[in-house]
Amino acid sequence: MRLCENRAFELSEMLRRKQCSAGEICEDVLNKIKETDSKIGAYVTVTEELARKNAAAVDSALASGEELHPLAGIPIAVKDNISTKGIKTTCCSKMLENYIPPFNAAVTEKICAAGMTIVGKTNMDEFAMGSSTEKSFFHPTRNPNNTDYVPGGSSGGSAAAAAADSTILGLGSDTGGSVRQPAAYCGVVGLKPTYGSVSRYGLVAFASSFDQIGPIGKCVRDTAMLLSLICGHDKRDSTSVKRNHPDYAAALSDDIKGLRIGIPSEYFGDNVEDSVRMCVINAVKEYEKKGAVIKEISIPSAEYVVSAYYIISSAEASSNLSRFDGVKYGFRAGEYGGISDMTAKTRGEGFGEEVKRRILLGTFVLSSGYYEAYYSRAKKIQNLICRDFSDALEDVDVIVSPASPVPAYKIGEYIDQPTKMYRNDIFTVTANITGLPAVSVPCGTDRNGLPVGLQLMGGRFCEQTVLNAAYACEKIIGGKYEEI
């Protein structure tokens, strides 16, 4: 087995036992990138020199007997909307094609402080707006399970790299499902933490009240290790919460006896593809066999979640993306008249179609005359959705659903049907609207052999509960990365 095919917790152990060096791990991952990425397209920037330098530093520290973080020397791929000082952070947009941030994001500081080896910045839908990574300004990413298919999005690059072993761990961002859904499509694990758990400082904002950075790993244990590393209060992010986060990996347990699992009655209608439904129902049956208690619950506001999400997230995005005006940094149009013309042309030429679509939508719903009918109403619906979930979570510990109603689809299939693509977010957006934690874990494959993800959502700061449920699923159903 190649080094790059191992999981993070295994490599961590091997490093401690001196069965390999950080340099060897780094080299093997870099080689795997060279072997696979021309086909997969997971990366925008590969940081070879930086990676080797870090690996060497880790080896040196290990040799002198220093006590290092368990993830030291483990390669990680960082989504290209997370600021890395001195390294291009493009958000896969023409607007920031050559933008180099003068500072590190809080999570970048944490992974560097732990001695992790950043191997590169990964591909994404432009400004995180999309569910297939086809909207990247550079190139689409392909699903390693079948390269004719999308890897999901918007963190498609990080998920594909983890699935292709061209990274060990990945960081993505999740505003409407952008960590969980690509994890589901690629057959890896992806988690969106409770809003406020991970500092957003340095994450290029899409929808400020929904965005969270989340870990992507080949297995639940890996994902849990990375989650513990990136969580924590940051005084530079006023929405980050002061809280002690536990060692999620150490506390992992697959004992789910008595775990109350909720199945929303509204979730298994015609919109869910047959093979997806079968995988999820099968997983639930297995849970029951292991002693979980299955309950049917109701989320009456379910039919409104997608609309509410797109109105609120687009509104916030339209404001957050206004700063890209060609004045201070990033792309500026080549020819223009006065200042307004410069701004208009810069934004017209610099943004892709999907981004412009969302900005127009967001501007519209915030504009006077329409604010009450759309934005204000969507905020009220948000309150209803939150209430429905908090009511449900009084009776159950975890709410189950497919991560996506459809499995991965062929590249180009939804290219002209944006709102159809939006509706596929129905199960994931609820976690962002409510701020609750949710994880996607593989639970089988569809008729084409493509992975299907099971989403588990829990109460605020109940990451351990959802991780344990995911861990149990992983053990029961097995698959590529089951722990032996």
Binding site: N81, I82, S83, T89, C91, L96, Y99, P101, P102, F103, A105, R200, Y201, G202, L203, V204, A205, S208, S209, K235, R236, D237, S238, T239, A315, E316, S318, S319, S322, R323, F324, D325, V327, K328, Y329, I339, S340, T343, T363, L366, S367, S368, Y371, Y375
Partner: protein, 479 residues
């Protein structure tokens, strides 16, 4: 001819002098090299987030107390979205539907009368950068030092009725800001700015006319000119059968006129929304209450006290109370209890202010203390020195310091107030100036003054002039 009434509302922006900016820890300072007090946050770089400076909230609450406002213990930050090069994020983080302070009032004196204006709200927000236009080169440069400097915006109710009232109000706001020590109020540095809203209506009407907003008013006297121009413009329009259009106009002080910036149709839609990156601003009620004790006696209260209890005329009371340093010196000197308020006021508004203006300093920097000032005036009032000599001593101390009595001694300024000495001089002068005495008896009043002058002269300026005048008067009557 219909009679019209002018209705004015003001929006005053004052920069707060906190050490750091409102949403980041950059230095809050005027006049530094361009783009040296900046960071990724105030430059609006992607991925940055604002963090609210608590000191700004504290300063705003204190202003709220000073303006008798209700303090909202729950308020919210909001985004005001528009594109302009001096606004890096393309939105200003301000407050919209839930401001920090509301429903207050401010009393002030205008033309000797006590007035009261309602304060609709006070809220906090960030300042934008500064654009420097190069006419010749045809380009514009941006200095982001000012981005994120904290502002309070004070919005009045439309209670002002004349340009004079507006000016008095603005001067009172400026004084209050100085008293609280929260802004240095230098209009020439842009640390206090004012937008003016003007409408007119027929006298006796209680509905408001259409108002126009005037921007680019850069001084208090500019505000007066802008209000008078706008009022006249609107009255002319209405008198000739036209209607006032709701517009935002730009005041050009050099040309003495305004022109349209934006009509109602072009009015900016700022798409206000709650700021998601800053949680609701929650203030502890007790903390807010406790800040009341940091509010000193404010200028209007001082004016009332000076006029009613200390007998100062309103104009002088206003001038003393208008600047905290002057009022502090006045109060301290008065509290010593050795001299009269009128003389203290005269000295401060006369020699002291002249010296301060001539040397370009301020009262805090000059060497006069309340004790010394009190001593000087006390000596004057007891006849030990003349008023003229008193001013000489004051000037000497301000310039070179020193002790009051020593200077009087060194310069030989002590006057002679011995009644016998005075009587002798007067007797002799009267004897020597029979012609003047006769003139006086024939009704020439200035003969008396001449005789007094001669007495002073012959005494070499040492005779107590007040006593001399009295003695001359007495003796002339007895003749």
């Amino acid at each position: 001819m219909k009679k019209y009434e002018t209705v004015i509302g003001l929006e005053v922006h004052a920069e707060l002098n906190t050490r750091s900016k409102i949403y980041c820890s950059c230095k809050n300072a005027f006049g530094d090299e361009p783009n040296t007090n900046v960071c990724p946050v105030c430059m609006g770089m992607p991925g940055t987030l604002p963090v609210l400076n608590e000191k700004v909230v504290e300063y705003a609450v204190r202003m709220g107390h000073a303006l008798n406002c209700k303090i909202n213990c729950n308020s919210r930050m909001a985004r005001k979205n528009y594109f302009y090069p001096d606004l890096p994020k393309a939105f200003q983080i301000t407050q919209a539907d839930m401001p920090l302070c509301e429903d207050g009032w401010l009393e002030f004196f205008s033309d000797g009368e006590l007035k009261k204006t309602g304060i609709e709200r006070i809220h906090i927000e960030e300042d934008a950068g500064k654009l420097i236009h190069h006419a010749q080169a045809g380009d514009s440069l941006i200095d982001y030092n000012r981005c994120g400097v904290p502002l309070i915006e004070i919005v009045t109710r439309p209670d002002l009725r004349s340009s004079a009232e507006a000016k008095s109000f603005l001067e009172m706001i400026r004084s209050v800001l100085l008293y609280l020590g929260i802004s240095d109020c230098k209009m020439q540095e842009g640390s206090v700015r004012c937008d003016v809203n003007v409408s007119v209506r027929e006298e006796g009407s209680d509905t408001l006319g259409t108002r126009c907003e005037m921007k680019n008013v850069n001084s208090f006297s500019g505000a007066v000119r802008a209000i008078e121009y706008e009022s006249a413009r609107q009255i002319k329009l209405l008198s000739s059968g036209g209607a006032v259009a709701q517009e935002t106009r730009r005041w050009d002080d050099a040309k003495g006129m305004s022109h349209v910036m934006r009509s109602k149709e072009d009015a900016q839609d700022y798409r206000y929304c709650t700021e998601p990156d800053i949680p609701p601003v929650k203030i502890d009620r007790q903390w807010a209450e406790n800040l009341k004790s940091t509010i000193p006696e404010l200028p209007c209260e001082k004016i009332k006290r000076y006029t009613s209890l200390l007998g100062l005329p309103e104009t002088e009371a206003g001038l003393i109370a208008g600047e905290p340093e002057r009022a502090a010196l006045f109060d301290e000197t008065y509290d010593i209890g050795d001299c009269t308020p009128k003389n203290i006021a005269n000295m401060i508004l006369g020699n002291i202010m002249k010296y301060v203006n001539d040397t370009g300093t301020c009262i805090a920097e000059i060497k006069i203390s309340a004790e010394k000032l009190s001593d000087i005036i006390n000596r004057m009032e007891n006849g030990i020195i003349s008023n003229l000599s008193g001013r000489k001593v004051l000037d000497e101390i301000m310039k070179n310091g020193g002790s009051v009595d020593e200077i009087i001694k060194e310069k030989g300024l002590a006057q002679n107030s011995d009644p016998e000495y005075i009587e002798n001089i007067v007797k002799n002068i009267i004897l020597e100036n029979q012609k003047s005495v006769n003139d006086y008896k024939r009704g020439k009043k200035n003969a008396e003054g001449y005789l007094v002058g001669q007495c002073i002269k012959v005494s070499g300026g040492k005779a107590n002039p007040g006593m001399v005048a009295e003695a001359v008067k007495k003796m002339l009557k007895e003749i």
